[in-house]
């Protein structure tokens, strides 16, 4: 039986990391928002590794925070280990990563949702998207027949759509982490003419940590200083727990090799395409046959549990093989497996059917975010959820969508990659995907994006003021460093000598001195007598974002300027708009493939067109020539 269950502004389907951000953003922007989850106890679940951040991903978390999202704050509250990765490789690739207590994180996020005005949470399976005139979304229907009218729907269903679990030769229909799959929604989307892809991902086994002999493993402790994800947090004092490292060996590899025929991946039972960056252990052994060892990290799942996650051992081999291979690892001889590893196949939307706002090109009012868009990872999901949430609101209010471009944010890179290039495997963000990564640092995410978050309405006046104040302080200090000269005094030269730097013979600005690689901002404190009090530090352990920003901006100024020039070049092509009504079949000289791709994807700018696979530089020349012959297509 179908019944009318009421009216909301926005329905969010799925309460994973994308759904939570989308729902919070929508509700915070004043929309009556209804968030569906098939099981309220799995809100913000981490069915894979219990950590947040990492290379590229840590950048996303900070960008989410700068735009007014929740992930960073929740992670800061519940992290049990923190690390800054790549700290020696340059500021563009510094990345924060934290192990979080999974259950704690879920509880925090659920509570945040519950405390949010305008936000309603409902345990139900959405089985149908309802559309009206010109395909516009008008509502959703649940498995119990409840019909909710709404103006926008945000799909954030993760890996649930037609989920199918594989453990060795056993397979059954199911969602992640022992939950139910969502089968009917997938059909509803297909009926609406949305093309679906079939992807696959996998996860390793979980063990009882008490069954591991840690003395045979190498300890991997957290960093001494916890650098928070959120720009709103400054100090986190917390006791941290360690991860542990062990290695596979020839026995492990032998066990895997002799059982490959029982793997659903090699046996041809899985049709979905898996990600290259998250290979199963059997994959690694087949593809890199001459590698004798592979690392395996033991990561605690939380404080109130003994369960540990076995990073590096993702597998869909049968249970008995998993047990045997895990027990071949040093220290894991008596390991007790609590949950087996599995591969999961699921339906997702081919993201090239989306606009850069994450709205469907075909069905107005239908947004989607997260794994359903072909991405993987909690952070990638949350980032899209936030943008989809903001843009659903913008759509309802008749405002321009928030679109971040590739030079503004990793979120922009992520969405542009998905929407423009599409993806043939679950998509993971990487710093090497960004052309301008020296500009898109995690440390300056707030400088880049807080104004956008403020404009969108997710940053409070108070926070914005604090932000402006920080910005002023940074600028003032940079200015001061440029205009403050140190004399070639004995004191200064003694300091320089002690830092392994060459002496100065005449006065030199602090900024100039700071460009020397061996000299840090902190180190100059003693001779920099005019340094403002708030930038002086007695407690060297504490992390100071203003000092960090000043140091990076001054030290790497030359490089930063060069990337900014490149960004100008890039923007030129992005500004060349392609009229919506362009008829690609009328443009002579486009190759057939390019003509078809362009007609299908309808890029908004020449820049976007140039990134579509199958569109060559020659096609772009043709397009440019064509556009320049049409006066209405002048740059704007």
């Amino acid at each position: 039986m179908e019944y009318s269950a009421g009216n909301v502004d926005i329905a969010v389907v799925g309460a994973g990391h994308a759904g939570c951000e989308a729902a919070l953003a929508a509700a915070r922007l004043g929309m009556k928002t209804l968030l569906f989850s098939m099981n309220l106890d799995s809100i913000a679940n981490m069915p894979c590794n219990p950590n947040i951040g990492g290379t590229g991903k840590g950048h996303l978390v900070r960008e989410i925070d700068a735009l007014g999202g929740e992930m960073a704050k929740c992670a800061d509250k519940t992290l049990i280990q923190s690390k800054t990765l790549n700290s020696a490789k340059g500021p563009a690739v510094y990345s924060l990563r934290a192990q979080v207590d999974r259950r704690w994180y879920q509880a925090e996020m659920k509570n945040t949702l519950e405390c949010q005005d305008n936000l309603f949470i409902k345990q139900a399976e959405v089985v149908e998207i309802i559309t009206g005139d010109s395909c516009r979304v008008t509502g959703v229907k649940t498995h119990t027949g409840a019909v909710y009218s709404c103006k926008a729907v945000i799909l954030t269903t993760g890996t649930y759509l037609k989920g199918k679990i594989h453990v060795g030769d056993i397979s059954y229909s199911g969602g992640p982490d022992g939950l139910f799959p969502a089968d009917r929604l997938s059909d509803s989307l297909r009926e609406k003419g949305i093309e679906l892809l079939r992807f696959k991902t996998g996860t390793p086994a979980r063990l009882n940590g008490r069954s591991i002999d840690l003395s045979k493993l190498t300890e991997q402790p957290g960093d001494e200083v916890i650098v928070p994800f959120s720009f709103e947090n400054h100090v986190i004092e917390r006791e941290q727990i360690s991860c542990w490292l062990t290695y596979t060996n020839s026995t492990t590899h032998e066990i895997i090799r002799s059982n490959l025929h029982r793997s659903p991946l090699y046996g041809g039972m899985i049709e979905g395409i898996g990600p290259r960056y998250c290979p199963s252990v059997e994959d690694k052994i087949v593809r890199f046959a001459d590698k004798e060892h592979h690392q395996v990290f033991v990561e605690p799942m939380g404080l109130g549990t003994q369960e540990v996650y076995l990073q590096g051992m993702s597998s869909s081999l049968p249970e008995d093989v998993q047990t045997e291979m895990i027990r071949s690892l040093p220290g894991l001889e008596n390991a007790h497996i609590m949950r087996s590893g599995y591969a999961i196949e699921y339906d997702c939307i081919d993201p090239i059917q989306l606009k850069l706002s994450l709205e469907s090109k075909k069905i107005p009012g239908l947004f989607s975010a997260g794994q359903i868009n072909g991405s993987s990872g909690y952070e990638e999901a949350a980032a899209q959820g936030l943008i989809a949430g903001i843009n659903a609101v913008n759509m309802i209010r008749g405002r321009e969508p928030l679109i971040l471009d590739r030079s503004q944010a990793y979120i922009g890179v992520l969405i542009d990659d998905l929407v423009t290039k599409g993806t043939s495997e679950p998509y993971r963000i990487m710093t090497s995907r960004s052309e301008y990564r020296l500009l898109l640092r995690q440390d300056n995410a707030d400088l880049r994006l807080t104004p956008k978050g403020y404009e969108a309405g997710l940053i409070s006046e108070e926070r914005y003021k604090r932000f402006l104040d920080k910005k002023d302080k940074i600028e003032e200090e940079i200015e001061r460093l440029r205009n403050t000269y140190l004399p070639p005094s004995e004191e200064v030269n003694a300091l320089l000598t002690s830092l392994g730097s060459t002496n100065i013979r005449s006065g030199i600005s602090i900024a100039e001195l700071l460009r020397r690689p061996e000299i840090t901002y902190r180190a100059l404190e003693a001779v920099d007598v005019d340094r403002p009090g708030h930038l002086r530090r007695d407690d060297r352990r504490k992390y100071d974002p203003v000092a960090e920003q000043v140091e990076i901006s001054v030290k790497y100024e030359g490089y930063i300027k060069r990337q900014m020039i490149q960004v100008e070049q890039y923007r030129k092509m992005e500004r060349k708009h392609i009229p919506e009504n362009i008829d690609y079949s009328a443009i002579h000289g486009l190759r057939l493939e390019a003509r078809q791709k362009l007609a299908k994807q309808r890029p908004v700018s020449v820049g976007q067109a140039s990134r579509i696979s199958g569109v060559s530089p020659a096609d772009i020349s043709v397009l440019l020539i064509y556009l320049s012959s049409r006066p209405e297509c002048a740059d704007d």
Binding site: P275, C278, P279, Q295, Q563, I625, S629
Partner: protein, 470 residues
């Protein structure tokens, strides 16, 4: 972008042009491309078979006849080629004429009178490019081919067309991508036990690739010479034998030669192919103090020509020895590339010639060639000296990658300077990531020649080379 986007691309009309280099012998091609190519040919070509019946990609012998007055213009070979398997992707007719440039022009204007439009520079190539028949580097090479002035020039362009340049650039670029992937793998997966890449390894790799690019870039100077040629001014005091030199080089009596000093008044020029380099020789008035207003203008012009030439050939009279006027000229041209000829050695006193040589060594030591225009000796040595001066190194022309395109040269130089920045980043002690930015930029510049972008390739390379991921 290579084209400025002028002109309509709605419907392609039919275009025609002379498609072989000007002035390089008698044979040349008039090429017609577009939907009207066959129709036009049918009206002006009289062969054994009608155009309609001629098979695609075959050569037919016949005559070009003006349908207006049945006048025969030339005896030709005509090639018919059905689109899209042609250079431009369209229907193409090529008419091989051998009556020299005048006949070529006549055939072309006849074609144009049939309602065909004269092609703009590089327009054939542009169509080829637009019709997907060639990549950017190839397209540009062809444009050079069209502009090439000598055989060497066209061979260089042809070699480029065959993709030698693309090949070498692609290989340098591939090395860069692999280097980036190595760095990126470590950066993206900091905790994986892949061999850490040190700044020194990166530095070494960068140096190697930079050298490779440097070599490619150096091919450009040579390429430019092959394409554009050089100008050589022949100067010297009256009666030294300048005009005689020009005539010997040209193999004809191009300039008037008399034993009256001051015979040549104005500049006489002649294009002569010297070892594959097109050289524009300028014969000038003998330099001396003179009351004659006409001659003094000539002397001025001679000085001007010497000043702006790429090469100055100073002719000395071996009979007279080194006079103060000669020394003046030698001093004035000290900054230029130059060759000094000691002429008339058939009649000059051997000892005097030796003294001249000795004094020349003391006066700036320019390259000296001993010649006799009457006997024709020393001319080969002169040619060799010219080649040596302009084409450094002794690599055989055919094995070398020659860049003849300015845009490519610029991009390669930019790629080189990006690599130099990467070196500086390393030696300056900056973190690895900065060098990466420069190396990526360098690969990006090279990609602009071949039309590829870096990011996707790096990601692919990372996953194919390294076992990483959780």
């Amino acid at each position: 972008m290579m084209f400025n986007g002028k002109g309509s691309f709605g419907d392609f009309d039919t275009i025609a042009a002379i498609s072989t280099p000007y002035g390089t012998g008698g044979v040349g091609i008039v090429r017609i491309s577009g939907p009207g190519a066959f129709g036009t040919a049918a009206r002006i070509f009289k062969g054994r078979r009608d155009i309609k019946e001629i098979k695609s990609h075959t050569v037919s012998h016949g005559k070009i006849v003006d349908p207006a007055d049945d006048r025969i213009i030339d005896d030709v070979l005509l090639t018919k080629m059905d689109g899209p398997h042609t250079f431009t992707g369209e229907d193409v007719i090529e008419i091989n004429c051998h009556g020299g440039i005048v006949v070529l022009k006549n055939v072309l204007s006849l074609v144009l009178r049939q309602g065909v439009r004269a092609a703009g520079p590089g327009e054939f190539t542009r169509r080829a490019f637009i019709n997907g028949r060639m990549d950017l580097a190839q397209a540009e090479a062809v444009i050079d081919l069209i502009n090439a002035k000598t055989d060497e020039g066209s061979r260089a362009a042809a070699a480029q067309l065959e993709g030698r340049l693309s090949e070498r650039i692609a290989s340098a670029r591939k090395s860069l991508i692999q280097l980036i992937a190595r760095i990126e793998a470590v950066v993206e997966y900091p905790e994986h036990d892949i061999e850490d890449i040190t700044g020194d390894i990166v530095y070494e790799g960068v140096l190697k690739i930079r050298d490779e690019l440097q070599e490619i870039s150096e091919g450009f100077e040579r390429g430019r010479l092959l394409r554009e040629g050089i100008t050589a001014a022949i100067i010297g005091k009256p009666n030294a034998g300048k005009s005689s030199l020009l005539n010997v080089l040209a193999g004809s009596s191009r300039a008037i030669v008399t034993d009256i000093p001051g015979t040549t008044r104005d500049i006489i020029e002649e294009y002569i192919n010297i070892k594959g380099i097109p050289v524009r020789f300028l014969d000038t008035a003998g330099i001396r103090q003179t009351q004659d207003p006409v001659e003094s203008i000539g002397v001025e012009r001679a000085r001007g020509a010497a000043l702006s030439a790429d090469l100055v050939i100073i002719v000395l009279d071996g009979q007279t020895g080194l006079l103060p006027e000669d020394l003046d000229i030698i001093r004035e041209t000290a900054e230029k590339k130059r060759i000094v000829l000691i002429n008339k050695t058939d009649v000059a006193d051997e000892e005097r010639v030796q003294t001249m040589k000795k004094r020349l060594r003391e006066s700036g030591d320019p390259p000296v060639v001993v010649t006799s225009m009457v006997e024709g000796t020393g001319v080969d040595e002169l040619a060799e000296t010219i080649e040596r001066l302009f084409v450094s190194g002794d690599i055989g022309l055919n094995n070398e990658v020659i860049i003849t395109n300015v845009r490519h040269k610029q991009l390669i130089d930019e790629a080189i300077s990006s690599l130099e920045e990467a070196e500086a980043a390393h030696t300056g002690g900056l973190p690895l990531d900065f060098a990466t930015i420069d190396i990526k930029q360098s690969a990006e510049f090279l990609g602009q020649i071949t039309g590829e972008s870096v990011t996707e390739e790096v990601v692919n390379e990372i996953f194919s080379q390294f076992c990483i991921g959780k």
